[in-house]
Symmetry: C2
Subunit: 345 residues, 2 copies
Amino acid sequence: MISLEELQLAARNHGMPLESLRHELTPPGLHYLLVHYDIPVVDPAAWRLTVRGERELELSLDDLLAREPVTMPVTMECAGNGRARLEPRPISQPWLSEAVGTAEWTGVLLAPLLAEAGVGPDAVEVVFTGLDRGVEGGVVQDYERSLSMADALRDDVLLAYAMGGEPLLPQHGFPLRLLVPGWYGMTSVKWLTRIAATNEPFTGYQMTHGYRLRASEHDPGTPVTRMEPRSLMVPPGIPDFLTRRRFVEPGRVELEGRAWSGWGEVTEVDVSVDGGSSWSAAQLGAAPGPAAWRPWSFVWDAVPGDHELCVRAHDETGRSQPVEPPWNVGGYANNAVQRVAVTVA
Amino acid sequence: MISLEELQLAARNHGMPLESLRHELTPPGLHYLLVHYDIPVVDPAAWRLTVRGERELELSLDDLLAREPVTMPVTMECAGNGRARLEPRPISQPWLSEAVGTAEWTGVLLAPLLAEAGVGPDAVEVVFTGLDRGVEGGVVQDYERSLSMADALRDDVLLAYAMGGEPLLPQHGFPLRLLVPGWYGMTSVKWLTRIAATNEPFTGYQMTHGYRLRASEHDPGTPVTRMEPRSLMVPPGIPDFLTRRRFVEPGRVELEGRAWSGWGEVTEVDVSVDGGSSWSAAQLGAAPGPAAWRPWSFVWDAVPGDHELCVRAHDETGRSQPVEPPWNVGGYANNAVQRVAVTVA
């Protein structure tokens, strides 16, 4: 079913084991990771960040560390999460449902830096360039993404140099990455080396080919931006090694998990213990911050037999998770409800 | 080709991206990880280690931290590394070649603790029990492995509470794991809770069913123990996102990588730039410790065209890597030579 090429990606990149949903902040090494090309090795003493507006700033890591730090907990999810559950399956990193994590990120706000560089009235976008370089769709490229000027000037967009109070790990963008709360991870460019205002929309591969919701190969599609609502549960009981089916003893089982949406606050989480035939509201807890997941819990009176547990989040904008996967060419943003097979005995 | 069940495992567990071979010590989160069941959440204040010999010791984490610490760099590899390259493919975690990592582990020696607990003359093995629990091959079990008394009393077998100078991450066995240098990772039981000397060979699932080299389903086989020699290279140049094919500019290319064997020192590493038709010796560097990988380098004069780079390690015991994968039912210890497809242009 899955090709060798997809497996090569799955062996490099990794999701967050779902039992790690127990942690409000994902421990190092358990946060999901997607690297398009190779993880660069960066000498922090030699590294510089260029910020180009009407002027050009050149900043060392020490320059950034000397600025006012901002720390925020942010839930980040890969835009391709759920891809491997689509039919037909788009061929890329074959995520099931675990490409997510939450960390406390520390860095400096982007907007004041852009103001210092001077953004002219004609500037429409800001382009972010990473040090990771490779070939994709036949195009040799540095990994690059852009944001509209309005998005770039948001008061919560960060240039992050720390994760969980520690310098970024190499695989998470050391020494500096962009962090755009609420958006899928592809926009939070890692190993940042250049930020440049531009007077024309940026047409790089990752904007015009990758990360677009397209109904067919000929559809130009629309950009992938914010995270669709999703809830995941800690699979209860104990697993079978190979099938991951869960085994639970009869009686009171406290189901728990976390839910998020990049569009607004999660306002409701529903649980089904009968494969989606009926739904009941879970108890919601407080998120550690406006851009981080919300915990939920639900008491299940488990009776002997085979069951399929499901969970579904709704947000304040009225968005919720579909029962059937929403197909598109690139396999992005599949936020269909999670299903967990459980045997109670 | 790969089933959904194998993909579920590949999305949870992860290898070390091969460019991370640049690091002598693998950064946190990049060391390979295989978890049979779920990662337990352990309260370190409540956690105790029981050591049972003729007496029973009960040790807190503080008790262990108060003992003489020992630190050593150790290369650890999953016994299933290379499994997904076997034909027919044994169904389990589908590793390609990246299930490895090297860390500085700190802990206390096992042998003095066994001496304190008192190991009687009839004791033949020591059984190690983890807190991870699940179902495997139809058997409900705690993860358990044993060592012969001779192996358990080796002067380099550690109970490790730190990795890279930091407390173990949850996924690497917090608060304590066994560490048996030179052996495949399955024996270095994580989330250790009980150590018990026994007068009879232990017949648990992971000794008698899992981790045996078997020619057929009816062959009882032999135990998987030490790591076979293997060398891996940092794939040169830049990758294609999907195929991972490498693109390199013509001219002088310094190939580099690391090689290890659990049986003895790596004494030779050979590189082939023509798919294995001819081999040349690489330059070997010094290992950071007796149980850790050795760096190597090789200068390649890359000429335009498609090439297949290979690398092969030999150790002081005369063991070396085969060109053809060595098949067995469980898909263990496939140390066939690495092959890297490169286009020079």
